[in-house]
């Protein structure tokens, strides 16, 4: 009974999709907003990665909101899973290959994550992707060593400092450039590492914040197992 009601409702949703998408042919021309960003983006922001210039310059306020949403999600997870007791769900010892491999790979993964968020304005990637890579390094440590624990106080300190740095840069932009999160630093020469004004600064802050937050989420879920 439930299956049939579900299938009928899905039929309506599918019809809605068909009607809406039949007016948007696949692979046609871009919209006016995209033309503006692609034509003026490099001159206005100094970042050659247009997606980065949209995320951290034109729509940086939305990114601040997004970082806040992620923060609230990790806060809620910590509040739900905080038990006081330390139940390690993973009783079985990881194999020698995993343990040795994680010891070799751990610093390299951290370095790669930092590379991704430092070069966010030049190459594909940025703060969120680099932060996710950094969190995966801590997940690997959790999988390899069952007694491994991150220092939660240091992680939340990194998270708070980088989150505040985002807002402070925005307020400096308000004081110097005239509006919140304005790009008040020198744009520099495109294609070079020290270019695009505040974009690399903001992306480093986002990368550290997302890395610390996702590592905290991983730690919360890994440590909550019923021992």
């Amino acid at each position: 009974m439930r299956k049939w009601i579900g299938a009928i409702l899905l039929g309506f949703v599918a019809a809605g999709f068909f009607i809406a998408l039949s007016d948007i042919p696949f692979g046609n021309n871009r919209m006016d907003v995209a033309e503006y960003y692609i034509d003026k983006g490099v001159a206005e922001t100094g970042a050659v990665n247009i997606v980065t210039s949209v995320v951290v310059n034109y729509r940086a306020l939305d990114t601040l909101g997004e970082v806040t949403v992620l923060f609230v999600a990790s806060l809620g997870l910590g509040a739900l899973l905080y038990a006081g007791k330390d139940g390690s769900g993973n009783k079985q010892r990881a194999s020698l290959v995993v343990r040795t491999g994680s010891r070799i790979l751990f610093p390299l993964i951290l370095l790669f994550g930092a590379y991704i968020f430092v070069h966010g304005h030049l190459t594909p990637g940025g703060g969120f992707q680099g932060g996710a890579v950094i969190a995966s390094a801590f997940l690997l440590q959790y999988l390899a060593y069952r007694s491994y624990r991150i220092d939660k106080r240091k992680f939340s300190m990194v998270e708070s400092i980088s989150g505040s740095a985002f807002v402070v840069v925005g307020l400096l932009g308000l004081a110097i450039g005239g509006y919140f999160l304005s790009n008040f630093l020198d744009k520099g020469v495109p294609y070079s590492l020290f270019s695009a004004g505040v974009i690399p600064v903001l992306y480093v802050a986002i990368g550290l914040k997302v890395g610390a937050e996702l590592a905290g989420i991983v730690a919360g879920l890994m440590e909550s197992g019923r021992g």
């Binding site: 439930r2 949703v13 050659v48 997606v51 997870l77």
Partner: protein, 119 residues
């Protein structure tokens, strides 16, 4: 068949969204419902990116050597999806932590056997 091939990404993303919705509506295991939410999330992301695609498009990054801006795909949906993926991770992590607590409290993940949550 030709139109189906041309709008392959639309069909695929709509299929992902519908499968995710079906799982959310029909399945009674909490973990399966969370998997359904994630499938729905992925389908929406694929749909947004494919709406911004142009034929023979390249990533919207100036490299100095390769294709010019005429070939760049729409950067706005990509920025939106970048946001949506991160939010999706947060939502799934929160949902899984709620599932952990539900299991600790009720001893089951079956939504029909959790008191006060009857369909």
């Amino acid at each position: 068949m030709e139109t189906l091939y041309n709008s392959m990404y639309y069909v695929g993303s709509a299929a992902l969204i519908l499968i995710g919705l079906y799982i959310i509506l029909v399945k009674s295991n909490l973990i399966k419902v969370i998997i359904g939410i994630h499938l729905l999330d992925t389908g929406v992301n694929v749909l947004l990116v494919s709406v911004g695609y142009i034929k023979g498009g390249k990533a919207p990054i100036f490299t100095g050597t390769s294709a010019g801006p005429a070939q760049f795909v729409d950067p706005v949906p990509q920025a939106l999806v970048l946001t949506a993926i991160v939010i999706g991770v947060g939502v799934i992590a929160l949902a899984l932590s709620i599932a952990v607590k539900v299991y600790e409290h009720y001893g089951t993940h079956d939504l029909r056997r959790i008191k006060g949550l009857k369909w």
